[in-house]
Amino acid sequence: EDQVTQSPEALRLQEGESSSLNCSYTVSGLRGLFWYRQDPGKGPEFLFTLYSAGEEKEKERLKATLTKKESFLHITAPKPEDSATYLCAVRANDMRFGAGTRLTVKP
């Protein structure tokens, strides 16, 4: 059965303190690994898609990487506005999400 596990469940950082979020997955026939950002009361907002091991994508302070078993979302020098829940999803026959990592960045 396809599974997606995100860790940690919650992460508190000081502004400027870089860190990484983890997404471990088991899926047959991966057709893409997706990262989304979700703010309270909002729908998930698309960030990245990764398709193959070794692939990397960057956007502002965020960089996503992919191996055959996991993906990392690296946050460099985060700001308070980066506070949100970050969701990982894998696409095979459908789209299966992890429970998310709730990131809080303190000024």
């Binding site: 997606v4 995100q6 057709r31 893409g32 997706f34 989304y36 009361g41 909002k42 729908g43 998930p44 907002e45 698309f46 898609t49 398709y51 969701l87 999803a89 696409r91 026959n93 459908d94 789209m95 299966r96 999400f97 992890g98 429970a99 998310g100």
Partner: protein
């Protein structure tokens, strides 16, 4: 419209009442998805349409849940005889092409918040 639009944004239903949640996908998007999101959890897949065909409804939790997309654009998720455990955010999403293709980013609406009292 520019994005996926859902209505109502908030719905309070009495236990046993029927509710209907509407989704307007991005114009031209072939695929449409419904997800259920409980507080503090990731979205859980409910059902998937490609145009008007419902290709996967394996995530619908019971026969009280029903979804349709009769003309391949707007979709309605109907919940009959609502129960308290149905309280959640119902997210609609769409993508340009079919689920099996690559490069198919799924875009989400803001969700319909259902509270059953």
């Amino acid at each position: 419209g520019a994005g996926v639009s859902q209505s109502p944004r908030y719905k309070v239903a009495k236990r046993g009442q029927d509710v209907a949640l509407r989704c307007d996908p991005i114009s031209g998007h072939v695929s449409l998805f419904w997800y259920q999101q409980a507080l503090g959890q990731g979205p859980e897949f409910l059902t998937y349409f490609q145009n008007e065909a419902q290709l996967d409804k394996s995530g619908l939790p019971s026969d009280r849940f029903f979804a349709e997309r009769p003309e391949g654009s707007v979709s309605t998720l109907k919940i009959q005889r609502t129960q308290q455990e149905d309280s959640a955010v119902y997210l609609c999403a769409s993508s340009l092409a079919s689920v099996t293709g690559s490069g198919n980013t799924i875009y989400f609406g803001e969700g319909s918040w259902l509270t059953v009292v």
